[in-house]
Point group: C2
Chain length 215, copies 2
C-alpha cells in the first residue's frame, strides 16, 4: 500500500485510481474560472459521490473547509504533486503495430507530463521510420535510447508471446513502471509496478452487469 | 451495486473486476489437468492473495471446502455463468482508426463469448472494406446492422469529440454496454453501463507510485 510522503497515511488503490480523475475535473473547473468546489459537485463531475470524494481526499490531509468546499488551486497543486503531474515521465512504446501507432498518437502523450520519448520494434520495415514525430528504434537499442531519453514508463504493445521478454529488457534498462497492453499477465518483478490494460477483463465486467440485470 | 441472482448478496465492484481473472486462471489449471485449487495458489496465480480470493468467492456462495480447496470445474462453471461467459455477447467497434484496427484483431474478440460482429466508421475510404474478416459499415447503418447482428457491446474508439454522439447512437440502437476508449468521460445514461479504458489515468497511477517511492 502506498503512503503519501507528507502524512504517512496509506492511500488505498481504489483512491489512487480516482485521483487523476479529480485532477482532470479540477483543471476543467479552474479553466472555467471557479475558485472553490463542493464535494457534491466534484463527486458528480467525477462520476462518483460526495462521500467517496471526502473519504479519498481525507487520505491526503486536511484540504477542505466545511461549508466552503475545497480550494481548487490548493487541491490541484496537492494532487499534481502527489501524482507527479508537476514533473516529466518520458514514455517509451515497445511494439509498433496498430495499437502502438494508436498510442503514439494519443493526446496524453503530447503534454509535458508524459512526453513520448522513444518507440521500439524488431521489424526492419518499421525501424528508422517516424511515428508521431518520434523515430522507431530497434529493440536492441533499448538500453542506450532509454538511458539517453531518460525513459520512466514503458508501454508494452507487443503480441502476448513477446511481452515477458520485453518486460525483462525494460527492467534491465532501469524502467520500473510498465503499462502492459499485451493480453497476458506479466510475472511480478520486485520494485517494478505493472498496470495491465486488459480488454478481456473489461468485456467480462460488462457481460457480468448484463447478466445481473437479467439479459 | 450488482447482486448475484442466486444469493441476492451484493458483489463489490473490485470483486467483479477480479472474477474474470479467476476464470482465466481456472481455465489454465483445468487445461493443465488439475481438479482442485487452493485459495493460496489461486491468489498467487491471479496476482492477489488467498484472503482476497476467499472473500471474493464467498460473495458467490459456498464453493470451497476447508482443506480440500476449490473444485475447479464447479467454480469455473459458477463463474462462467455469473460473468455470462457461457453465452455470446456480439461486439461492435465504432471508429476504425489505428485503435479500432488493433481491437478488431484482438484475440479476445475471436472466441465464442465476445464475437466481433460489426465495425463502423464515417470515412467513405473505410466503409465497405473488411477488417479482421468483418466489413466496415457506415455509422448511419448502426441501428440496422446492430439489430441484425444482435450487438450487445459497443466499443467506442472515435476521437474524443465524436464519442458522446456515438454513445447516443449506440444506446438508441438498444446497446446497453459500452467500452469507451475515447479520452473523454461520457455522460451517464440510465440503464447503460460504461467502462472507460483511460490510458491517461493508468499513466498517473504509475507516476503516483514512482512519486511515492521517492523517484
Amino acid at each position: 500500500v502506498a503512503r503519501t510522503s507528507d502524512h504517512d497515511r496509506p492511500v488505498p488503490a481504489a483512491t489512487v485510481s480516482r485521483l487523476p480523475l479529480y485532477l482532470r475535473v479540477l483543471e476543467a473547473l479552474a479553466d472555467g474560472g471557479s475558485a472553490t468546489v463542493s464535494s457534491d459537485l466534484l463527486g458528480e463531475l467525477s462520476g462518483t459521490s460526495a462521500a467517496i470524494v471526502r473519504k479519498d481526499l481525507s487520505c491526503l490531509g486536511s484540504l477542505g473547509t466545511r461549508g466552503a468546499g475545497y480550494d481548487i488551486a490548493a487541491l490541484h497543486s496537492r494532487l499534481a504533486k502527489i501524482l507527479g503531474a508537476d514533473r516529466a515521465w518520458p514514455v517509451a512504446i515497445v511494439g509498433m503495430g496498430n495499437l502502438g501507432h494508436a498510442l503514439a498518437n494519443y493526446p496524453g502523450l503530447r503534454g509535458p507530463t508524459f512526453p513520448l520519448a522513444a518507440l521500439f520494434d524488431v521489424d526492419p520495415a518499421k525501424v528508422g521510420r517516424a511515428v508521431a514525430g518520434v523515430a522507431v528504434s530497434h529493440l536492441d537499442e533499448l538500453e542506450r535510447v532509454a538511458s539517453k531519453e531518460k525513459v520512466a514508463v514503458g508501454i508494452v504493445t507487443t503480441p502476448a508471446a513477446a511481452a515477458e521478454e520485453v518486460a525483462n529488457r525494460l527492467v534491465a534498462a532501469g524502467i520500473r513502471s510498465i503499462l502492459n497492453f499485451a493480453p497476458v499477465r506479466l510475472t511480478p518483478r520486485p520494485g517494478v509496478v505493472v498496470r495491465d490494460v486488459d480488454v478481456g477483463m473489461e468485456l467480462f465486467v460488462l457481460s457480468f452487469n448484463e447478466t445481473m440485470r437479467g439479459s
